[in-house]
C-alpha cells in the first residue's frame, strides 16, 4: 500500500514539476471548447434565397413576406429570367431559389393544387435538409392561415384540418448546435488527456530505463499499474471540472442533471481510456510511437462515436463496430445528463455497455502489461 503512495506522490511531483503540464490541463480545454464550440455548427441561418415571382399577386407577395420575417432566410433578390436562376446557385450567390408559378393565386382560390418550385444547392446535404425543413414549416403555416381565413369552410372542417405537426425540441429548444456539441467536446477532451498522458507516461519510463529499475524492486506490477492510474484518473476528473467551468463561462451552458452522476459516469469512461493507454504503452517502445498509436486510436474512436458522423448514416457493419466504442456511449450519457438531467435509471443500458467494454479493455491491457514486464 505504501508503495502505491510513493508512486502516486512521485507521479504528481513530475506532472507539476514544470509549468507545461498545467498549461496543457487548462489551455487545451479552453481553446478546444471555444473554437470547436463555435466552429462546429449544424445550425443553418441566413440561408440566401432568390425568388422568382411569376404571379405577382397579393397571395404570392404574402407568401414571400413570410420569408422576409424569418431569421433563417435572407432574400438576396428577385430574378425575372428563369434560365438565370441556376447561375445564382452555381456561383454560390444563393443556396436556394423559389419559383412561384403563374396562377398561384388563382389555383389557391379555385381550390386547385398550387405548386411552388424549389431549387436547392445540395452540396452540403445537411444544410439543404435543414433549409427544406424550414421551408416546409413556413409553407404549412401559410396554408393554415389560408384555411382559417377561407369563408366557405365550416368551423368543423377548420378544426379537423388543425391537426398539424409542430416540432418542439424539448431539451434544446432552438436546436442550437452548441448545446448539442459542447458535451461531446468535453468527452473528447477527457479522451485525449487521459489517453495521451497514460500511454506517454508509461512509455517515457520505459525509454529512460526507470521502468526496468522499478522491476528489480520488490514492487508488484499491479501496484505499478495502480500507481499510474490514480494520478491520471485524478487529472481526468480535474480536467472534466475545468472543462465544465469553461463551458459555463463561455456559453452559459450548465449541467442540468446530477453532477455526482456525471462524475461517476466519467470515471467509468476513464477506465477505458486508461486501459487503452496502458495497452498502447505495451506495444510501443518510444514516446513517438506511443503518440502516433494513441493518435490513431483517438481518430478512430472519434469517427466511430457519432460525434461528427451520425451513426445512423454509417454502413450497417460499421454501425455494429461502434457498439464496441465506449466513447459512443459516453457522449450520449454526457449529453443526456447535461441537457436533460436524465436520471441514472434511464442511462443504465449505456452505462452497462460502456462499463463492460471499458473493463474488458482495461483488464486485457493490464494482463498484457504484466506479461510484458515478465
Amino acid at each position: 500500500m505504501r508503495q502505491i503512495f510513493y508512486l502516486v506522490q512521485k507521479e504528481f511531483r513530475q506532472i507539476f514539476r514544470d509549468f507545461s503540464m498545467v498549461r496543457i490541463l487548462f489551455v487545451v480545454p479552453l481553446i478546444q471548447i471555444f473554437i470547436l464550440g463555435n466552429a462546429i455548427t449544424t445550425d443553418v441561418k441566413n440561408i440566401k434565397i432568390v425568388f422568382q415571382d411569376q404571379d405577382k399577386t397579393p397571395y404570392s407577395r404574402e407568401f414571400i413576406s413570410r420569408f422576409v420575417h424569418s431569421e433563417y432566410f435572407k432574400i438576396i433578390g428577385f430574378e425575372e429570367n428563369y434560365n438565370r436562376l441556376s447561375s445564382y446557385l452555381d456561383s454560390g450567390k444563393a443556396s436556394l431559389a423559389i419559383v412561384i408559378p403563374r396562377h398561384f393565386q388563382r389555383d389557391i382560390v379555385l381550390k386547385d393544387k398550387p405548386d411552388i418550385q424549389l431549387l436547392v444547392d445540395g452540396v452540403d446535404g445537411n444544410s439543404a435538409g435543414v433549409s427544406l425543413g424550414y421551408i416546409t414549416d413556413i409553407v404549412q403555416k401559410y396554408q393554415e392561415r389560408l384555411i382559417e381565413s377561407s369563408p366557405d369552410l365550416s368551423l368543423q372542417v377548420k378544426n379537423v384540418r388543425r391537426v398539424e405537426t409542430e416540432p418542439r425540441f424539448w431539451f434544446n429548444p432552438n436546436l442550437e448546435s452548441k448545446l448539442y456539441i459542447v458535451p461531446g467536446i468535453i468527452a473528447l477532451i477527457l479522451l485525449i488527456i487521459t489517453l495521451f498522458l497514460t500511454s506517454m507516461g508509461i512509455v517515457r519510463e520505459k525509454e529512460i530505463g526507470t521502468l526496468e529499475q522499478l522491476m528489480v524492486t520488490p514492487i508488484r506490477s499491479y501496484q505499478l499499474v495502480i500507481g499510474k492510474i490514480i494520478p491520471f484518473s485524478i487529472l481526468g476528473m480535474l480536467e472534466i471540472m475545468i472543462s465544465m467551468g469553461f463551458v459555463y463561462l463561455i456559453f452559459g451552458i450548465g449541467v442540468k442533471g446530477s453532477l455526482p452522476l456525471l462524475l461517476f459516469e466519467s470515471s467509468l469512461f476513464i477506465i477505458s481510456t486508461l486501459g487503452l493507454g496502458i495497452f498502447i504503452s505495451t506495444i510501443s517502445d518510444t514516446q513517438q510511437q506511443a503518440l502516433f498509436i494513441a493518435w490513431f486510436f483517438m481518430i478512430f474512436s472519434i469517427l466511430l462515436s457519432g460525434f461528427f458522423i451520425p451513426i445512423a448514416n454509417m454502413p450497417p457493419v460499421i454501425q455494429h463496430i461502434t457498439r464496441l466504442n465506449p466513447l459512443r456511449y459516453y457522449i450520449v450519457i454526457l449529453r443526456e445528463i447535461y441537457l436533460k438531467g436524465t436520471s441514472f435509471k434511464d442511462l443504465i443500458p449505456e452505462t452497462l455497455a460502456m462499463a463492460t467494454f471499458g473493463l474488458c479493455l482495461f483488464f486485457a491491457a493490464v494482463m498484457r502489461f504484466r506479461k510484458k514486464l515478465g
Partner: protein
C-alpha cells in the same frame, strides 16, 4: 545446487529468436567477492545480468542468486539484490532528495528510515548543496554515485552493476571504485561489468565473455601468469584475438 554461494549459474542460455545472446554459461560467485564481468560490445553481459536480476526469463539453464532460483523465486531475489542498469535510471525531473525518498518508499522503508538514509547518503556523497536541485543538473559522475547509493537503500546482500562507470572521467571512476571496495568490505557481493581493463585489475576474479560464452575465468594475477602478460588489457586482446 549450493546455496552458500552468492551467485551460482549452471548452463544458462538466452536466445532471441535464432540469435544466441548467452550460450550455456556456468560460474559461481562467492559471498563478499568483487566479480568482474568483461567482454566486448554485444558479448551478452547485460543479457546475463538481466536474467540474474529476474528482468529476463532464461531460455534454458538454471541459476540461483542469494540462494533463490531465477526460474521460480524472482520476487525473493528482488528483495536481496541491488541493480544499477547500464542506462542512468533515476528520475531526472525529481530532486536528489525526492529520488532517494521515492526509491526508499518503493523498497518499503519506514518514513524515519527514509529520512535517516537520505541525510546519511547526502552527507556521504557530499551533496548537501545539491539535495534540492533536480537530478538532471548533477555532473554524470555524481549521478552515477547517487544511483549506486539508491540501489543500496534496502541493504541488499548482492549488487549488480552494469557498466557503472561508462562515460566518466578517470578521477570519477577511481572514486567510484573506492565506493565499490567499501561496499565489498561490508560483506556485500559486487557483480560488475565493465569495458575498462584497468578496472578489471580491481576485481577479485574476472570472467571474460565472448559471443555469449565465458571463455576465461580467474583472478587477475592468475590470468597474467597463465598468459604471461603484465596487464589485463594485453590478456583481453590476446584472448579475443585467438577466438
Amino acid at each position: 545446487m549450493q546455496t552458500d554461494k552468492a551467485v551460482s549459474v549452471s548452463k544458462l542460455s538466452r536466445h532471441f529468436g535464432k540469435f544466441i545472446a548467452v550460450d550455456e554459461i556456468s560460474f559461481e560467485v562467492d559471498k563478499g567477492e568483487i566479480f568482474g564481468f568483461l567482454g566486448a560490445n554485444g558479448a551478452g553481459k547485460t543479457t546475463a545480468i538481466k536474467m540474474l536480476c529476474g528482468l529476463l526469463k532464461p531460455t534454458s539453464g538454471e541459476a540461483t542468486v542469494a540462494g533463490f532460483s531465477i526460474n521460480s523465486d524472482t520476487s525473493k531475489i528482488k528483495k536481496n539484490i541491488g541493480y544499477m542498469s547500464q542506462k542512468f535510471s533515476l528520475y531526472d525531473d525529481l530532486t536528489v532528495k525526492e529520488n532517494i525518498e521515492f526509491y526508499g518508499g518503493i523498497y518499503g522503508l519506514s518514513r524515519e528510515k527514509i529520512s535517516d538514509k537520505t541525510d546519511q547518503l547526502i552527507s556521504e556523497l557530499n551533496l548537501d548543496k545539491m539535495k534540492n536541485s533536480l537530478t538532471r543538473s548533477l555532473p554524470l559522475g555524481w549521478k552515477q554515485r547517487l544511483a549506486l547509493s539508491t540501489s543500496l537503500l534496502h541493504d541488499p546482500s548482492i549488487i549488480f552493476l552494469d557498466e557503472p562507470t561508462g562515460g566518466v572521467d578517470p578521477i570519477s571512476r577511481r572514486n567510484f571504485w573506492r565506493i565499490i571496495y567499501e561496499i565489498a568490505s561490508r560483506g556485500k557481493t559486487v557483480f560488475v561489468t565493465t569495458h575498462y581493463m584497468d578496472e578489471a585489475e580491481y576485481c577479485n576474479r574476472v570472467s571474460i565473455m565472448h559471443k555469449g560464452k565465458i571463455i576465461e575465468l580467474g583472478t587477475p594475477t592468475g590470468l597474467k601468469q597463465k598468459y604471461n602478460k603484465t596487464t589485463m588489457q594485453d590478456i583481453f586482446i590476446s584472448i579475443i584475438g585467438q577466438n
